[in-house]
Amino acid sequence: MKRVSPLLPASATFGVAYGVLAVTAGMGVFAPIVMSATTFAGAAQFAAASVIRDGGSVLAAVAAAVLLNARYLAMSVAIAPAFQGSRLRRFFESQMLVDESWAISQVGGGRIDRRMLVGAGLFLFPCWVGGTALGVFGGDVLGDPKRLGLDAAFPALFLVLLITLTVSRRAIVAAVAGGVIALALLPIAPAGMPVIAASAVCLAGLRRR
């Protein structure tokens, strides 16, 4: 689990930041912790807490989070062949799917190592949930994640994996297309859309064959 270790302090610190934001937003003490344990997806949780803080409707909060998390549907179908065993086991293991565990467990050719994905998720989960609890009860104890540069840890991870994984010509084309689409949509589309639109690039691969 060497690959996931540098992400654990980052995950915990952002968990704290989420806990602090959620309390400020008036979500109470237990709801944010329950949300970290069930939703377990940072960006969507930050978005939902912001909507609640700004007095937005339930629909607005849910829509923002669903849009942000829709990418998990594509990832979930893509990783399905790697999951074995009973339905219940597959269900619980699938909940360890987050961007970071998905990215780390890529073994090339669109395949993942399920044990690596679940293992990474099992390390990230307590950091995220524990961080949230710490933020809810203790406030800003670990410092601003941005001041510590931790917000650069995640794009750095994704970029390093992108560089190492993207070898074939088709993959390079997909990466460039995905990046350009995301960049173009960033200023105009609601959060979550740029990533979904970029993953639609793979549909082009479906057509091609």
């Binding site: 998990y72 990832m75 339905r87 840890a153 992108l162």
Partner: protein, 103 residues
Amino acid sequence: MSTTWLVVALIGVFTIAFKAAGPVLLGGRELPAQMTAAFELLAPALLAALVVTQAVGGKQAIVLDGRLVGVGTAIVAVRLRAPLIVAIVAAAVATALARALFG
């Protein structure tokens, strides 16, 4: 039920369903060859989009800040054949330094 708990419940149900859909409904079965070929492109396209949104993403805006220093450092680290863990730590340290020095 309060608004907060309703939001927590609804988002939780959606997210859990998204994550579980593939492994629970299709688990262990090979996907059709066509889909496998398409999903080969999912990883690079999605990773590239995550890099972009997390490196320069703001509130519906492109924001260039200290994160770019970190991402640049990670690229250099990888080019020098540093392991993943070193590249990530270097990215965070470089971004923190850039922010400390230039505000």
